[in-house]
């Protein structure tokens, strides 16, 4: 019997004989060796407290521990400053080369692939649920809690259950402006927020083969929003071009693909020709509807950024829509490049100028408003359209505020009109 991509990636990281591996199947608990362990300014302080309790002096490998100060950083208040200070101290003591502080930091899941820290074939665990983003690179990457991460930092190993796999095959031709965000919102709308609970998702099909890396990162990122443990893409020419690009490191990597006779929990075919631009209504990502249904819903804020849609391609789309237009007087439009590099590229390409001339603000990379941290908190009764990934109650501020999720084209168009709008209405 063949193996799914998830099975292959996990089995590659188990210290066992070939015959033992042969006997392992979805549902079995195994100990895996990790290639990268990640934590951020919210989850690291707890992880480091637990790490200390283990009575171990050094992390298992300083090259493989990555710490990113992105959630409340540059620090929003004294308590968050203390949290970053704890992380900074640990990074110095342990001589961690991959500690990303203000000036070098970006939103972790945009930053790690960009810096070449995660490569195809890797097994990554992160104390952040959107660690699954790296599945776009053909790496097995999954979110865990701080205690798991403490143990992984200390021992380089962690327990995990081999997941069953849901294979999603996308066929057909994409409509104008429809991208990875629309595909994943539509998919979650179809299968529900627990539709892939405890499973890995394999994204495949001719549409996926043609999809940009940015689009793939966006889709893998939101696998967790369907309850999945990982969202995986087989490695192809686009992946290879991405990881070998000039500014990334040159560690050897392994390109894996699922076997043709792999066993799947389920295979679903999705014809994208019928998928319009999507908007997910509050308060669950599964409340996805065609943008036309939401047309006219008034908004107070538009957020363009995050680990879901904070890459150069996303900013390009937003700028294309905003070019020559003004953000409505009733809307605060906040643009957040995912990393310093994205910021710089956007600056060089003239996108930042477009945003500012349109009346948007551009922020340093940070998670900020995505999780209701700072830099764009909503008041009671306010409504935002956002390219982020979660619209839970109170996610972006007051418990009586609302978040609608969309891709960058819809968010930018809505910023111009002041209500949820298809980009075609703005670009005429």
């Amino acid at each position: 019997m063949g193996r799914t991509l998830a099975e292959k990636l996990i089995l590659e990281h188990i210290d066992a004989s070939a015959s033992t591996r042969l006997g392992l199947h979805p549902g079995d608990l195994v100990e895996v060796a990790v290639d990268i362990v990640l934590a951020n300014d919210i989850t690291a302080p707890i992880a480091l407290r637990e790490f200390e309790k283990l009575g171990i002096e050094r992390v298992f490998d300083p090259q493989k521990v990555v710490l990113v100060a992105d959630h409340f950083s540059p620090n929003k208040d004294i308590r968050s400053a203390e949290q970053c200070a704890v992380m900074r101290r640990f990074a110095r003591e342990q001589r961690l080369p991959h500690h990303y502080d203000v000036g070098r930091m970006g939103i972790e899941h945009v930053l790690l692939p960009e810096q070449g820290l995660v490569l195809p074939g890797d097994l990554v665990v992160g104390a952040d649920s959107h660690t699954c983003t790296y599945g776009a690179l053909g790496a097995f990457a999954t979110g865990m809690g701080s205690t798991d991460i403490a143990v992984a930092m200390a021992t380089g190993q962690i327990w995990m259950r081999i997941p069953e796999t849901l294979r999603l095959v996308y066929t057909g031709a994409l409509k104008p402006f429809v991208g990875g965000k629309d595909l994943i919102l539509h998919t979650i709308g179809k299968i529900g927020v627990s539709g892939a609970l405890y499973q890995a998702i394999e994204f495949a099909g001719p549409v996926i083969d043609r999809l940009s890396m940015a689009g793939r990162f966006t889709m893998a990122n939101m696998a967790i929003e369907a309850g999945a443990k990982a969202g995986l893409f087989a490695v192809d020419a686009a992946t290879e071009a991405y990881v070998t690009a000039a500014n990334r490191t040159a560690r050897p990597y392994q390109a894996l693909a699922p076997d043709p006779d792999a066993h799947y929990a389920k295979v679903l075919e999705i014809d994208v020709s019928q998928i319009p631009l999507q908007v997910a209504y509050p308060h669950l990502p599964e409340n996805a509807k065609p943008v036309e249904d939401a047309r006219g819903v008034r908004i107070d804020q538009a957020v363009i950024g995050s680990c879901t849609n904070g890459r150069l391609e996303d900013l390009n789309i937003a700028a294309q829509v905003l070019e020559g237009h003004k953000v409505s007087n009733d809307v605060r439009c906040i643009v957040i490049p995912g990393t310093q590099q994205v910021y710089l590229d956007a600056l060089r390409e003239g996108l930042i100028e477009t945003f500012i001339e349109a009346g948007a603000v551009v922020s340093t990379p940070t998670c900020g408003p995505c999780l209701g941290g700072y830099m764009g908190i909503l008041a009671a009764g306010e409504r935002a359209i956002s390219t982020t990934n979660r619209n839970f109650r109170g996610r972006m501020g007051h418990t009586d505020s609302e978040v609608y999720l969309s891709g960058p084209a819809v968010a930018a168009a809505s910023a111009v009109t002041g209500y949820i709008t298809s980009p075609e209405e703005v670009i005429t």
Binding site: L29, I42, T43, P45, I46, R49, E50, K53, L54, G55, I56, H71, F72, K76, D77, R79, S80, E82, Q83, G126, A127, D128, S129, T131, G143, M144, G145, S146, T147, D148, A150, V151, A154, T155, W159, V193, S194, L197, Y198, G227, K229, L284, L371, G372, G373, R390, F392, R393, G394, R395, T399
Partner: protein
């Protein structure tokens, strides 16, 4: 060390499906990290009475996909800090499930017990046997036992003590 041989007893706080980590502990409190600090704000946006009235030993009952959303361990820590002895739900989001086991917060998947229970009911929970008795309904529900590996973590009092003894034995 056998931690949970004594049955747990407490009153029910019942919530619905897809209770996410943002309502268990909103992000505005993620600049704190101790169970005591976090407990004060636990469930605040969903049920303002919870933190004020919860008693040590009480049980949270959830519907499907309890604990979905972020990986924040602050969520089970806040629940544990509030004195909750056990969380029972129809199903759990996987990271929350791991986190609860890892920090030694007992957690059971039992759709029948979750549907049967109402806020205020008194439950007796025997973790080892996977048995839940509801005094009001008179029903006894059983759920499958933990796999031995997870039971070992629970009995050790969480992943850290489990790993410590494993490292010491090396």
């Amino acid at each position: 060390m056998r931690v949970h041989t004594q049955p747990l007893q407490g009153h029910v706080w019942k919530y619905g499906d897809n209770i996410d980590t943002d309502v268990i502990i909103p992000a505005r409190y993620l600049n704190m990290s101790t169970p005591e600090e976090l407990a004060v704000h636990c469930m605040e946006d969903l049920d303002p009475h919870f933190a004020a009235e919860v008693q040590a030993g009480d049980v949270i009952i959830g519907g499907a996909n309890f604990g979905c959303g972020s990986s924040r361990e602050h969520a089970p820590l806040a629940i544990k800090g509030a004195g909750i002895s056990c969380v029972i739900a129809e199903s759990f989001a996987r990271i929350f499930y791991r986190n609860a086991i890892n920090i030694g917060l007992p957690i059971l998947i039992c759709p029948a017990a979750a549907r049967d229970a109402q806020t205020g009911d008194r439950l007796t929970v025997n973790l080892e046997a996977g048995r839940i008795i509801n005094a009001r309904s008179g029903q006894t529900h059983t759920t499958s036992a933990f796999p031995p590996f997870l039971m070992a973590i629970i009995e050790a009092g969480g992943l850290i003590s489990y790993t410590r003894s494993k490292l010491a034995a090396r």
